[in-house]
Subunit: 316 residues, 2 copies
């Protein structure tokens, strides 16, 4: 296992390693959203990624690096949804078994997708503790290798490749924004940006109803997410001991938004861009729309992290 913060060479190696398993996703713009925000926004469309989210990058990079002996036992993780699907599909791509622990409040669409990718789903209560205990059970029973959904340098290096592509496609961004849940995407985004475009400020976008990252950075220590109740279901997780220091060092600011602001941003993207982005993915746009004084007139990259959600339970 990779045991240090990924450097530029490691991210470049990751790009090559995962290329057969992921899409290079498009970057889209929208005139109306630019007019409303007063900024020039470049949307990196990870909702069009394989299995519908950036998580495929990190999962593929982790599975690609486990040993053949480990592969024979299969892999396991806990996830509210997107990493579950990503690990299931990555495992299928390598012809190995996957045992996925999912909280009982995960969207049905995501649970079904995991099953469709041929993985075994094990349901648990929706707390961090319940997830971790259930994974321990699975490991004891199957010998499967645990792949953490974000607190793993291989996963972080994989997630970094989305920002790397965006920075190759668009020069001179003033800001790059990504949502923060457990911190895998924002850590990877911050590392790639620091290495490739050091003048670009990295902003983490977080729901106020799951503001553990905001509180943790303020406190200087990891504070867990307590009963997070946000529509952005991918962002209910807490930071890990690998993502927290990266965020401390390389992320310029964490900005929070309310539920209604997330829903407004989601409707705006759906109506104007005609693309489907899940609530977690629109949180950065909500941050930009809320903070005109900071973002007006700026050139901004936003990572639309995913597009998986239950279409029968929309907030509008």
């Amino acid at each position: 296992m990779q045991n240090q913060i990924p450097d530029l060479n490691e991210i470049i190696a990751t790009v090559k390693r995962i290329a057969p398993f992921i899409h290079r996703t498009p970057v889209l713009c929208n005139q109306t959203i630019d007019r409303i925000s007063g900024a020039k926004i470049f949307f990196k469309c990870e909702n069009f990624q394989k299995m519908g989210a950036f998580k495929m990058r990190g999962a593929s990079n982790a599975v690609a690096q486990i040993t053949d002996a480990q592969k024979s036992k299969g892999v396991t993780t806990h996830s509210s949804g997107n990493f579950a699907q990503a690990l299931a599909l990555a495992a299928r791509n390598f012809g190995i078994k996957a045992f996925i622990v999912m909280p009982e409040n995960a969207p049905d669409t995501k649970r079904q997708a995991v099953l469709d990718y041929g993985a075994q789903v094990i349901t648990c209560a929706s707390t961090q503790k319940a997830r971790e205990e259930k994974v321990e059970e699975v490991i004891a029973k199957t010998g499967a290798i645990f792949i953490h959904p974000y607190n793993d340098y291989r996963v972080i290096a994989g997630q970094a490749t989305a920002a790397k592509e965006l920075l190759e496609d668009v020069n001179d961004l003033d800001f790059i924004l990504a949502p923060v849940g457990g911190g895998g995407l924002i850590s990877g985004t911050a590392l790639a940006t620091t290495y490739l475009s050091p003048k670009t400020k990295v902003i983490a976008a977080e729901p106020s109803n799951a503001d553990d990252a905001y509180r943790s950075i303020k406190a200087g220590e990891i504070l867990p997410s307590i009963n997070p109740d946000t529509i952005a279901d991918g962002l209910r997780t807490s930071l890990g001991d690998k993502t927290f220091p990266i965020i401390q060092k390389f992320v310029h600011q964490i900005i929070c938004v309310e539920e209604q602001e997330i829903i407004y941003a989601m409707k705006l993207i759906w109506e104007r861009m005609k693309i489907i982005v899940e609530p977690s993915g629109v949180v950065p746009l909500a941050v930009v729309l809320k903070n005109h004084e900071l973002f007006s007139g700026k050139k901004i990259g936003i990572i639309l992290s995913g597009g998986n959600l239950d279409l029968t339970k929309l907030p509008f």
Copy 2:
């Protein structure tokens, strides 16, 4: 006014005429939908067109060709929604007034968009007769020039440019499918395909609940749509005396689908492609999914006609 069926030169001239006002839209594919359908499908994404539908092509071509004297009076039309928006935006692009007659059951989102483009909206009952009478009133009052939403060779030439682009991007299609309402898009599609790829069969896709085109072709005369009640709100209109003969001569077959089949196709596109397509736009995919024996193993182009709908009134 152009008074004959557009030939290839006219369509080429149209491409040049409307280029400043439209997007060249992307062509997307989806592995899962290919697997389910057994075909290889190329989706021409007119949902990403300016104002969200192919109608912008025909409206721009018509407005570009009216005289300066006519421009001073403005333009008018009747439309359930997308042509209304298209004419409103085309009029704004040319700095002229637009008076748009909309049936009372048009989606709110479409009505609001027309207002946002600066046009005046006049509401009428949702019958063909009521629409036509109201437009006559508007013309009498304002002197505005009537632009028919589909029964106009300039509009048909504009709509033909979508298929022309698709045929340039993808060679050797076995079939090309477009929805049929009033017949503007399918007429343009059939003309472009006949000129540019004569071996490709043109199929019109129609809701069974608004099957006037199917019945008209069978009867050999235009039979109007009687109280059409379909979720595909853009396809409730009846054929015109310009579109009917083109369809008779150049469209290979009209195939109908049921409401539940339309909804299934819509959900499949939303979930798998992460793009928003309105019910009218997915009718061709519903046709492909329903007719495996005809389409299995074939290379198929589908025009996803638009992406405008009321997100608060989804069928799933």
